[in-house]
């Protein structure tokens, strides 16, 4: 795409002067300017009809965003109760098991590791998996979504499938030179905000007497 544009740009730049001379366009300079000016004025008029409120105020953004970061670390390091994150819970599974069984935990197959926090609980007969997902908290649907998160018990192998991805597309408009010439601070265009923060977390509760073999590549945290 960019190659195409580069070639196009070259063609235009090289070709235009010739075309200009050929068509004797240069004689109509002031007419061209007049026409162009009308177009510009028309677009200014059109601009006034754009509801500018819908472009978020730069002040509101950062506080909202910082609320959600360091999700896992808050649980691990600061002992934030899990209930605080109830709103991000997307799915849960339960697998009944007998005592003194052995399980392996497998996530895969494509190298997208969720964070898994495992907690051992006394007197419980089922493995409980909760899935929490944090996505950019913005009013936009992903333009592309593929695959689904599932957890299943395959003869003693607890498999977490995290195939697929979500694609978001954002646009921003930068003011840039010359509008920012007399502004002290940087131009706040959208990409400067940390909206990319996302995290997935599987919170697994297993009976205390169940053995669990964990794939060493996975980011697994034991809570106790």
């Amino acid at each position: 795409m960019s190659l195409f544009f580069t070639i196009l740009i070259l063609l235009v730049i090289i070709g235009f002067p010739f075309l200009l001379r050929r068509l004797q366009l240069s004689r109509f300079g002031y007419w061209l300017l007049g026409g162009y000016f009308i177009l510009l004025i028309a677009s200014v008029v059109a601009y006034t009809f754009i509801p500018t409120e819908e472009f978020a105020d730069e002040e509101e953004l950062p506080t909202e965003m910082t609320n959600r970061i360091y999700l896992v670390h808050e649980i691990l390091d600061q002992g934030v109760p899990l209930e605080e994150f109830e709103q991000y819970k997307k799915k849960e599974w339960e697998f009944p098991v007998g005592t003194e069984e052995s399980f392996s935990l497998y996530a895969g197959p494509d190298y997208q590791f969720p964070v898994i926090i495992i907690k051992r609980v006394e007197d419980q007969e089922a493995i409980h998996v909760d899935y929490y997902e944090v996505t950019p908290e913005i009013d936009v649907e992903p333009v592309h979504e593929e695959g689904e998160v599932t957890v299943y018990n395959h003869s003693g192998e607890l498999t977490i499938e995290v195939l697929g991805y979500k694609l978001y597309r954002f646009n921003s408009m930068e003011k840039g030179f010359p509008f920012n010439q007399f502004e002290e601070e940087e131009d706040h265009s959208w990409i400067y905000y940390d909206v990319f923060d996302d995290e997935r977390m599987f919170y697994i509760t297993i009976p205390a007497d169940i053995e669990l073999n964990v794939d060493p590549d996975m980011d697994v945290h034991w809570l106790n």
Binding site: S2, F5, I9, I13, S26, R27, G29, Y30, L32, L33, G35, Y36, F37, L40, I41, S43, V44, Y47, I50, T52, E54, F55, A56, E58, L61, Q112, F113, P114, P136, V140, V162, G164, Y165, L167, Y168, F170, N171, S172, M173, E174, K175, G176, F177, P178, F179, Q181, F182, E183, D187, H188, S189, W190, I191, Y193, V195, F196, D197, D198, E199, R200
Partner: protein, 248 residues
């Protein structure tokens, strides 16, 4: 038949009128450069891509810098062209002298800078309007999309002064190169050389110079800096060629 009198202001007036006809091509190329600038502002945003685990984010940052860059080139190149031998001689079949010719050229360039500045600022509306109404692209959390009155004033003043500075630089360089026949070859080599080596050698003075003008945050001081600089460059151009003979 009695003798006619012609004072400088009358000569400049007539010359200016003549320049406006002669340099009509400069006006059409301004329009074309602007349209190309708008086109590229719309089709080639700065693209970014980031992926974190399962979330992929594509972001496109639109700006109107293409218009400014192309129009800057236009200003620079046309100011240089004005000083070429050919254009210079074209101005002399009729009444005038070097000074009146210079002054007419400069007034024309000032006018052209103002026109170019105004259309450049208006074109940033055109880009926004096109993106908003004619594409599916969504804009939000993009405060840069909104232009307010203060932006407009500051932007217009800045960009006009910016084009004026480039015109003055181009005009000065063009006049200097006419001093010696080797200069038209040497000067571009020096300029391009500086631009190439900028990656390897730290041209502090260049950065400082750019910073001196474009790091200025007070509008009054910025205006003064540019106007004084352009004035000096124009005055030097006049001084350099005051003894120049025409129509060799």
């Amino acid at each position: 038949m009695s003798l006619n009198k012609m004072d400088l202001s009358a000569a400049v007036k007539k010359q200016l009128n003549y320049k406006m006809k002669v340099y009509v091509g400069m006006i059409s190329s301004l329009v074309i450069v602007q349209v190309i600038g708008i086109f590229f502002s719309v089709v080639s945003p700065l693209q970014g891509y980031s992926t974190m685990d399962y979330v992929e984010i594509e972001y496109m940052n639109y700006n109107t810098l293409n218009i400014i860059t192309l129009t800057s080139l236009w200003a620079l190149i046309h100011a240089i062209i004005m000083t070429t031998k050919n254009e210079w001689e074209n101005a002399f079949p009729f009444v005038g002298n070097t000074l009146s010719n210079h002054l007419a050229n400069m007034i024309f360039l000032v006018g052209a800078s103002i026109v170019a500045g105004i259309v450049t600022i208006l074109a940033s509306f055109t880009v926004r309007v096109y993106l908003y109404y004619f594409t599916d692209e969504l804009f939000f959390m993009s405060p840069g999309f909104v232009l307010n009155g203060g932006d407009l004033l500051a932007g217009t003043v800045t960009v006009i002064l910016h084009f004026l500075l480039l015109c003055a630089i181009g005009y000065f360089l063009g006049t200097v190169t006419r001093l010696h026949r080797l200069l038209p070859v040497l000067l571009p080599i020096v300029v391009i050389g500086l631009l190439i080596t900028i990656n390897y050698i730290n041209h502090d003075w260049m950065m400082n110079t750019v910073e001196f003008y474009y790091g200025e945050t007070s509008m009054a001081v910025f205006l003064m800096k540019i106007v004084v600089t352009a004035g000096i460059l124009f005055a030097c151009s006049i001084a350099i060629s005051s003894r120049t003979e025409v129509r060799k």
